[in-house]
Amino acid sequence: MNELAAEVAYLHKAVFCRQKLDDAIVERYELAHRSLLIEAPSEEQRTVRMVVEQKLDVLAVEFALRRRRTTQHHLLTMKLQILFYLVEVRSHYFRSFFNLSSHPIKGTFALMGSIILSIWRAVKGFYLVWRYRFA
């Protein structure tokens, strides 16, 4: 498995752990890199490599890096954005993005949970960014 394939497998598992990653997404992920991310800053590339190799919490690191940035997204965010675009257009992932029946109570609790989840990711993310000196 090449580096990008291993990377997308890790990112995919972190976000869409219940779904099986299929080959078309891997192939398109690689193609997207060739056409969009040719000149990525080397420090940011190192950050992504470290996150994957050390099996760090990618959602926490990404959130911390995104909150730190005011202009263009970090390479890790862009890679996750590519993955999100690629999965969103497949029917298999439709329910990850949309709710097809009304669940007001479940929805309210899920939203409260999402705030706690985000705070946890932020704390962990800022710690990891500091601990590994991610740029």
Binding site: V89, F98, P104, L117
Partner: protein, 524 residues
């Protein structure tokens, strides 16, 4: 020698050509078109659940939908694989240098109107107060345009701002959130009217029944992905009708660079984009409808003027998200599409200046276009996507733009346009008022959540060659005639002396038709 040459095929060029019908009219255009195969044929959300893979249709083989990943800020409606033709190659054809103006141009057949929101509003006497023409003069042309394009709407509290209901088609079905807002507004009308706020249905150039061989809107929610929807008016429909009927001669792949007046007419200089060679055309009258920025560029190039700075207007925008607590956890509403559902007009105390806002749903673009802007982690953002976004509507607030706001453009010797200048917009009192209004209806919102895109993002460019009663250099008279010329007419929004807080496309069409019609009579 032709009777008339029209430059551009957007709303201005098309309706000027229509006004000139019966004369020997040549339309010169770059004229990019979409030639892709039409595969999106039913509701977007039905397709997204039933078709296993929509990569080609929604992302594109060249990853067109990922355009903004490069850090650019292209309107979401212009980056899909089938809509990207609208802006293809504009930077090469008309380069712009600017750090504080988010410019986007189109060299497509039909221009930026290929992706317009279809808001069709008449300018009334209040909106035309800085124009040397009256609402009465425009009235017959508004009627003519309305009969031709098809406008849906209804008689409600906004009729006083949007004008006559003559020939207006029945309105579109409202989404659930919009219906809820309208119901609540009707119950709290007195409070709203005391604040000088009025809410009603959006007037849209969208068909709700068969009309001039075009089918009605199918609520397919494909506006971000599919061009040339016959239900949503596009100047291309009228242009192609005129070409078919033989009432105009249309030539594409031609970029007009300059003009010069001669004794009996005008010589138009053109670059042929197929061959790279220069060509010339002659006519008795020239009509410039290349868009406010490009028309100004052609005029400056014709004068070899690299010194003058011309004014440039665009409606400043602020986007206010509002949340309906009772819709948290609601199911996806496929009707909650990307067309404007409701309009709000706010007459500011003291100045009486009108602010207009349009209410949109959140189901138009891909979710990924939005999720990375949320201030939460990505796993949390997927939860928001499912349970929170169905409860969110976006209120797009448009502010008027006037000459005093000092954005300007200048032609540089390299051929690029330099657009510069700061503008001051008093967003806060309006945002605060609208936050109060929606809270009064039980919505959750906060001014801190307002997003203000860079000036230029409104895509309502205007005012570069303003129309005046007594025009000075680089201004136009009430007929659109460029000052100091005999036979050069500006028919697009370049001749608007200011921009009310309304989409100006319907007025561009009506004004271009007015100018074309007057000059047709002059050509007889």
């Amino acid at each position: 020698m032709r009777d008339a040459i029209v430059v551009g095929s957007g709303p201005a060029g098309t309706f000027a050509a229509l006004g000139l019908a019966g004369k020997d009219v040549l339309v010169l255009d770059v004229g990019r078109v979409d030639s892709g195969e039409q595969t999106l044929d039913t509701n977007l959300y039905e397709l997204r659940q039933t078709k296993p893979d929509l990569f080609s249709e929604l992302i594109g083989k060249n990853f067109e939908s990922l355009y903004n990943l490069r850090g650019e800020n292209l309107s979401l409606k212009l980056k899909a694989p089938r809509t990207s033709f609208i802006v293809r190659g504009w930077k090469e054809l008309s380069p712009v240098v600017s750090t504080n103006f988010n410019v986007t141009m189109s060299f497509a057949q039909g221009g930026l109107a290929n992706a317009w929101g279809a808001g069709a509003y008449r300018y009334d006497h209040h909106d035309l107060r800085n124009f040397p023409i009256s609402a009465l003069e425009l009235e017959p042309f508004y009627k003519n345009v309305t009969r031709r394009i098809g406008v849906a709407g209804t008689a409600d509290d906004l009729q006083q701002f949007f004008g006559s209901m003559d020939d207006v088609l029945e309105p579109l079905r409202l989404s659930e959130p919009a219906s809820q807002i309208l119901d609540l507004y009707n119950r709290h009308k007195e409070w709203f009217h005391n604040q000088s706020i009025y809410i009603g249905r959006t007037r849209l150039a969208v068909l709700t029944r068969n009309f001039r061989n075009r089918n009605p809107y199918q609520y397919d929610n494909l506006e971000f992905f599919k061009p040339y929807n016959p239900a949503i008016y596009n100047p291309v429909f009228t242009l192609r009708e005129m070409i078919r009927e033989g009432s105009i001669d249309y030539r594409s792949e031609l970029l007009v660079t300059s003009f010069r007046e001669i004794t009996d007419g005008v010589v138009v200089e053109v670059r042929n984009l197929r061959t790279g060679s220069a060509e010339q055309f002659k006519c008795r009258k020239l009509f410039l409808g290349a868009g406010a920025i490009n028309t100004a560029k052609i005029v400056l190039q014709s004068a070899n003027d690299y010194q003058t700075r011309l004014p440039l207007l665009d409606n400043p925008i602020s986007c206010l998200p509002i949340l309906s607590p009772r819709r948290i956890g609601s199911a996806l509403d496929p009707l909650d599409g990307s067309l404007g559902q409701l309009n709000l007009v706010y007459e500011q105390p003291g100045t009486g200046e009108r602010i207009q806002a349009t209410l949109y749903g959140t189901t138009g673009p891909l979710r990924t276009d939005v999720l990375f802007d949320l201030p939460i982690s990505l796993d949390a953002s997927l939860i928001w996507s499912r349970y929170l976004l169905p409860a969110v509507s976006l209120v797009m607030i448009f502010f008027p733009a006037s000459e005093g706001q000092n954005k300007s453009l200048q032609l540089t010797e390299s051929g690029a346009l330099n657009i510069d200048g700061e503008i001051t917009v008093d967003y806060v009192p309006v945002e605060e008022m609208l936050v109060r209004a929606f809270r009064h209806l039980g919505f959750l919102c906060h001014r801190a959540l307002c997003y203000r895109p860079q000036i230029g993002s409104g895509l309502h460019y205007a005012g570069t060659l303003p129309m005046k009663e007594c025009p000075a250099l680089y201004q136009t008279d009430r007929d659109g005639r460029l000052s100091g010329t005999r036979n050069i007419f500006v028919v697009d929004a370049a001749c608007f002396p200011w921009l009310p807080a309304k989409n100006h496309t319907l007025t561009i069409m009506a004004n271009a038709l007015r100018i074309g019609t007057r000059q047709r009579m002059d050509l007889q």
